[in-house]
């Protein structure tokens, strides 16, 4: 069991590079951050910034072309990077960390019944009988608002929204310490999105899990997250509390992001960020956002470190460094 003060997740210089035909892609470049318990962290960034790779790095879901994978990942102060594949599988996967994956459409095995899949982690990890596991599956289904009738159905018999909820139920069933949601609502229409957001809000409120939301859609996570982390070109550029981040983003990139999102109450002109993110094949020396930043100065030619400011937020920008 964890003590109150221990962060549920802490990474130190986590790196994940991929070998491709064109060279080595430095997708996750020495990422270090920590999450207190019951935290809901939104990880925001555009496509290719490394946020999905971060998920893979944390969950150890590696493809076959990994070039570098090192650093530390502390789950409740235990460095799980050091665990063998087998220990990791039995002790960490789904017992401590689970995943709500991106494409709910294809995340369910088409030839197994939904209930069996949702109950599977319990059978595998906690050695419950099938009956007991299905009973628990019924419970989580009710949590996410899907009728337990659907436990005996197949994936194709569920609508998109229901499938997403089933996936969330599946991630909850072992009550892991940390749940990572990779773009949980991107594939859904607006109405279903709203439904799912309500489900997630309810879960966050009632349960003890910690959450990481990966998203490129800033607006949907504003209601859910306690903190926001912005990634750019494989690095963290800002990590702040929700209030700080949504109301007053400091990093030029975060500021531009927020400025590009329409808000309900204000009238504002939407801005955009010109240019493209740098290639991760050969990341530029110096600040990686410098090319697109309108507040750059000479110091930006060297890479700024990630530093914590007085108000507790972390920022990687020479503008705010002491």
């Amino acid at each position: 069991m964890t003590t109150e003060g221990t962060p549920v997740l802490r990474t130190e210089n986590l790196r994940l590079f991929f070998r491709t035909m064109k060279g080595v892609v430095q997708a996750v470049d020495s990422v270090s951050f920590s999450m207190p318990r019951r935290d809901a962290l939104a990880v925001i960034g555009e496509s290719g910034c490394g946020k999905t790779s971060l998920v893979r790095a944390i969950l150890r879901l590696l493809p076959s072309n990994v070039h570098t994978y090192d650093g530390s990942v502390f789950l409740n102060d235990v460095d799980v990077m050091k665990l063998s594949e087998e220990r990791f599988r039995t002790n960490v996967r789904w017992t401590k960390m689970s995943l709500v994956s991106q494409a709910a459409m294809n995340a369910l095995n088409p030839v197994l019944r939904v209930g069996d899949q949702v109950a599977e982690p319990l059978i595998v990890h906690q050695r419950l009988s099938k009956q007991a596991a299905l009973a628990q599956a019924t419970e989580v289904f009710q949590l996410v608002g899907v009728s337990p009738d659907f436990l005996t159905r197949y994936a194709f018999e569920l609508s998109g929204g229901m499938r997403q909820r089933a996936i969330i139920a599946m991630a909850l069933i072992t009550r892991p310490d940390l749940i990572v949601l990779d773009e949980p609502t991107s594939a859904l229409d607006m109405l279903t999105q709203a439904n799912i957001m309500n489900v997630l809000k309810g879960i966050k409120r009632d349960l003890e899990q910690s959450f990481i939301f990966i998203t490129h859609d800033v607006s949907t996570t504003s209601e859910l997250s306690d903190r926001g982390m912005v990634m750019y070109a494989g690095q963290i550029v800002e990590l702040a509390s929700a209030e700080q981040f949504y109301l007053d983003p400091l990093h030029p990139y975060s500021a531009k992001l927020m400025a590009s999102v329409p808000t309900l109450k204000e009238k504002k002109e939407l801005e955009f960020i010109p240019g493209q993110p740098p290639s991760l094949l050969n990341p530029p020396t110096g600040c990686r956002f410098a090319d697109r930043c309108d507040r750059r100065f000479e110091k930006c030619d060297t890479e700024p470190p990630l530093e914590q400011l007085q108000d507790g937020r972390w920022i990687r920008c020479w503008l705010y460094n002491k």
Binding site: L59, L61, S98, L99, N109, Q142, G145, S147, N195
Partner: protein
């Protein structure tokens, strides 16, 4: 919190389930019926084509007639009573005898008529008697000749294919997790060996093991004289199966393993397989439930298709190994222009193919829930 999920009353639930079940059975029965009909039609067409080709517009009949003429002449000339008759009478008797024999063999009706009769006979395998060949038991009925040999071919052929299929599948499943390993690269490198058909490797194998080393037989199915006890008999058959099986393996195993392994590798990048890995399932469990189960329809289709194509390979392989089955029967029948046997063999193959396809369709329907429950927009 629950939205858009109507709760059904329990009693209605039950009724719905029962109705659904009987509807599913009805649907399945309809499907099976349609497939049977379609396959029967194709078999009929196939056999008719065979009949046409085998008689090639009556070419074989002409051959028969000339053979007949010769035989009649020989028969008549050897009869001393015949030779002293006047020429006109000789001619008359000769013609009568020809006519009698033609009638007996049914060669005097128009081809089209005969072809349809032949088609029906072909389909029911009542192909009369072979003119020169007999079965081992002594019968000259075409049906017996063929059916006697059928199990012999099936034994070798089904064993070979099932073995290759199972071994390849198991190997491929484990290889799909070991991408880039030595064994994986070995399979990739060895797969071009499929270029050569089994009989080709057979010749090499016979050369090495039978001729040079002399430890395995040159061919045939059983030692001569055949062993008396059942055990020795079975062992002898197995000994004779070793080289044909090896040849089959050399040709088909690597390519099978390779294509399954590639297929599973591609399949392993499906989202639900990734999620299964994230869920912490053991590799075995993932292989079984997330890779094999969903792809089972394709696996079975592939197996059936391989069977279909491999039936032909059996013919020459049997010839090279002198395995006394249907394939070898072919070679003999052709050499002696036994139209009946040839047609019969082709019909048997057509039936075998049809049965294979039918089994495949049914298996497909049973395994893929999308087909079973009639989902629209499932597979193609």
């Amino acid at each position: 919190m629950a939205e858009n999920t109507p709760e059904l009353v329990p009693a209605e639930e039950q009724k719905k389930k029962r109705r659904g079940a009987s509807r599913a059975t009805a649907r399945f029965a309809r499907y099976a019926g349609k497939r049977t009909l379609a396959l029967l039609v194709t078999v009929v067409i196939g056999v008719y084509l065979t009949v046409i080709i085998a008689n090639m517009g009556g070419y074989v009949d002409e051959l028969r007639i000339s053979e007949l003429t010769y035989a009649v002449n020989v028969a008549l000339s050897s009869d001393p009573g015949f030779r002293v008759l006047p020429a006109a009478q000789k001619a008359q008797i000769r013609d009568d005898e020809m006519a009698r024999r033609i009638e007996m063999l049914g060669l005097n009706r128009p081809f089209i008529v005969r072809s349809f009769e032949y088609l029906w006979d072909g389909l029911s395998l009542t192909l009369g008697r072979a003119q020169f060949m007999t079965s081992n038991a002594g019968s000259s009925e075409v049906k017996n000749i063929i059916l006697e040999r059928l199990p012999i071919t099936v034994v070798l052929f089904v064993t070979a294919n099932v073995l290759v299929f199972l071994v390849a599948l198991l190997l491929a499943l484990s290889l799909s997790r070991r991408y880039g390993s030595f064994f994986d690269r070995f399979i990739v490198a060895a797969s071009p060996l499929s270029a050569a058909p089994p009989w080709f490797y057979g010749i090499f194998l016979i050369m090495i093991f039978a001729s040079i080393f002399g430890i395995l037989p040159y061919g045939g199915m059983i030692d001569a004289p055949p062993p008396q006890t059942t055990l020795a008999y079975v062992l002898s058959v197995m000994k004779h199966m070793i080289l044909p099986l090896m040849a089959w393996f050399l040709s088909y195993l690597f390519i099978s393993t390779f294509s399954w392994r590639t297929f599973f590798l591609i399949h392993a990048s499906e989202d639900y397989v990734e999620l299964a890995k994230a869920k912490g399932l053991s590799s075995k469990a993932i292989e079984r439930r997330y890779i094999l189960r969903p792809t089972l329809p394709t696996v079975i289709t592939s197996f059936a298709l391989t069977l279909i194509y491999a039936w032909q390979g059996a013919i020459i392989t049997e010839t090279v190994f002198s395995w006394p089955g249907l394939g070898q029967l072919y070679a003999v029948a052709i050499g002696q222009y036994e139209t009946g046997v040839i047609v019969g063999l082709t019909v048997i193959f057509a039936y075998l193919l049809a049965i294979t396809v039918f089994t495949l369709d049914i298996a497909y329907a049973l395994i893929d829930p999308r087909v079973k429950l009639g989902a629209r927009g499932g597979s193609q």
